[in-house]
Symmetry: C2
Subunit: 516 residues, 2 copies
Amino acid sequence: MTRNGADALVEALVAAGVDTCFANPGTTEMHLLAALGRHPGMHTHLCVFEGVASGAADGYARMTGKPAATLLHLGPGFANAMANLHNAKKANSAVVNIVGEHATYHLELDAPLTADIEGMAETVSDVVATLESADEVSAATNHALAEIAGPSARVATLVLPNDVAWSPTDVAGEPVAPAPALEFDAQAVARAARTLSEGGSGVALLLGAPFVTARMASLADAIQKKTGCRLFAESAVSRMERGGDTPPLPRVPFHVDPATEALAEVWAAVLVGARAPVAFFAYPGRRSELLPKGCETIAVSPLLADAEKALEALAAALEAKPEPHRPTLVAPADRSAVITPETLAATVAHALPEQAIVVDESITNGGFLYAYCGDAGRHDWINNRGGSIGYSTPVAVGAAVACPDRRVLTITGDGSALYTLQSLWSMARDQLDITVLILANRSYKILANEMSKIGAGNPGEREAPLLSLDHPEPQWTQLAQGFGVSAERATTVAELDAALRGAFSSSGPRLIEVVM
Amino acid sequence: MTRNGADALVEALVAAGVDTCFANPGTTEMHLLAALGRHPGMHTHLCVFEGVASGAADGYARMTGKPAATLLHLGPGFANAMANLHNAKKANSAVVNIVGEHATYHLELDAPLTADIEGMAETVSDVVATLESADEVSAATNHALAEIAGPSARVATLVLPNDVAWSPTDVAGEPVAPAPALEFDAQAVARAARTLSEGGSGVALLLGAPFVTARMASLADAIQKKTGCRLFAESAVSRMERGGDTPPLPRVPFHVDPATEALAEVWAAVLVGARAPVAFFAYPGRRSELLPKGCETIAVSPLLADAEKALEALAAALEAKPEPHRPTLVAPADRSAVITPETLAATVAHALPEQAIVVDESITNGGFLYAYCGDAGRHDWINNRGGSIGYSTPVAVGAAVACPDRRVLTITGDGSALYTLQSLWSMARDQLDITVLILANRSYKILANEMSKIGAGNPGEREAPLLSLDHPEPQWTQLAQGFGVSAERATTVAELDAALRGAFSSSGPRLIEVVM
């Protein structure tokens, strides 16, 4: 077998530590598929929709800290992956997309699937390269991988024309070292320490690094206790270690009014990895910036710097010493009760296994989950920084592939889960230990609330059906079983508790429809 | 209620005859939703995935010849619609996308859902406009609608920032007339007539207009009979009237080798709406152009001209007189037989009701359907000109909304149907008379064949699972029922025949999984 351009690409990926590819290939990717098969260092997982592949790559990257690959079919295949690539980019997850393209000489014929792949890729990628010849594949791939391993880029898209994939080459590019990690700002740390030590509750400490470690939470908690400042994590952190003896981190509320209220008395904000918080959407008569007008901001650590080091320095300057948190987890009192946002949270927190990975896409009914789970055992919490719904079940696939020894719990609304329900098939194919909680209120509940908040009135007779998922109500147990995932419904606390414990103690995926 | 930018947009749509919108809205579209509700001339259908909305708009446009609208949520919502917008654009279907954007002053804050909507839109649209103020909405919308009603553009994307939607305006733009339709080339017709009358079977007559009418088929058939030329429709025509006494039109074969062979003896090709045919993909050692080297081409009618008029002129020049076709439909002989591509075709053709609309997305197992149905009753046949799979069930939704008095049959592989299975929910929501035939071979069968044809060898132990849909096999009857669509399986000709007749004689959607 002669080495070809596809081999050169896969070799470069494997050499850079990329060992997992989530794939939905077509004819233009067959040489890539063969090359992936020839390199035992690469593990490939079939997805039956591209948005599952891109979300899974994101989840894998969040849990391993190293890039995952996708394999996508031409422009339309890339387009289907874009919503979750948007989320991956906003989450600062390193993902490398490999997109097959028509042979270079075929493009001018404008065959049916010909599309502007680069134009699409530019909108959701930091690095885009079309590999023009087999000899340049290795070097160009090395460069792209170095860029996304560095602090300035996260999503790379490599477009490989079919004739470049099948042409022989013996060229291997030189390894490329990524740019060094960004440093935190020592002067800003000193200024932040002064402000924190003098400002009390008028100062907010805001954590927003893509990965907030347990150590960061402990340091921040110590600083809060020492100075009396207000402490928040951003409302959506890509990955957060928490639970057990890790001090819980409150978050900036998701909704604009409580967020503005929580920050109303703040005159200075110390940003560790975080940006100054903004509203998800603009609303007439409300400010989009969540910090009060004139609030001073002190950025001690850029987004992709080592925020833990910055916090260590800040805590040292303030002589703040971390103390372990003492969790106080209480079982839900009334097991026959119907499931409300609060009993849901208590039940989940109580059943959550040690070292679980929680992928949270609940908004309307999930308001208490994060707080209650702060007193559960050690776990990771994953949130959506990009806001495009349909992220959680694909991200759960990638997290489970990355961490086969851990339990993954994904919690999502019924409206959100419909966008990428094909992820259920991937869970069944790879028998992943994922529990999917569908919070089923049979509506785009959040939108009914948003409609009046944004000044568009209340849904009338002609609008209401457009915000509802009834007629018909999706039957999640049937949908799950259709994809080979066992499923059940829970309508009381006792049923939910039993379903969760059953799911966590058996292997393979399980879906629980929570009727709310 | 003060008239706002959203009202101005909806008014312009309704005034231009756009009466149907397929919607998946979010917060930034709430003012548009309210405006859609205030205008009784507009009918809005909820879709639970954006790729369903864009495919449905395509299907509606194909069957009505007028534009349909989509309502999409910001960049990621648009991204989810793009694959089927690619198909709509390639099919020359007029679609106007309305995309909500953050308020203009909110964009610089880079909130989670901020994305490059225009950059995305440029890749699949002919016209892209961001409406910058409420006063300009009406005129800009009129211009965009005139462009897609003319012969040079088909897909328009209008981006409406939220504050533009909610700002008051009393400005109404002047109506804009679309550019006149393109004319056919009378000189080329004369030259084509000479070539056809002299060339016999060395000349091919190729039809490729987006809408091939029954009259066009009759005229082309008459020309073929008069001159002895070879006659083909393009392998994928957006919409074709056929069946009954309409003479059947053979098509250029889908696969490159039979297509090249079918055209091997041709030295001149007369193109009516069609382009010179090209291979779907490039293959090593094969030409991508399907006409032989040196073949002369005579284009008598550009793609969006009135191809029927061109054919009338050509037939008149050749004194070719249409004759009605005498269909010879034979029932499948052995009703206990298993379902093969051939018995499938015979069974479908025999059960097809008058005035059915067939949306075909079958390749591997559907090879005989088109030919057999040529002898069925009058029907329309819809094909995918863009090649992005997952097009047929959404297009069926739009076709059924457009033609509530007709039966829609969509025929698709199990792999293809998974991309946009959320269309089943829309079928159930609107109780559309759609029958979905899933040809279930539990694999991406076409790719296993393509892999060796493209020189990448046969699937080995590590590649084969990536081309297969077993472990688990999707259970289509459960998936359908989960979305509120009644469903059954058919494994013999008799079962399939009974299932089809049952579906065609009852109202609402039905899914039939055909085990092959």
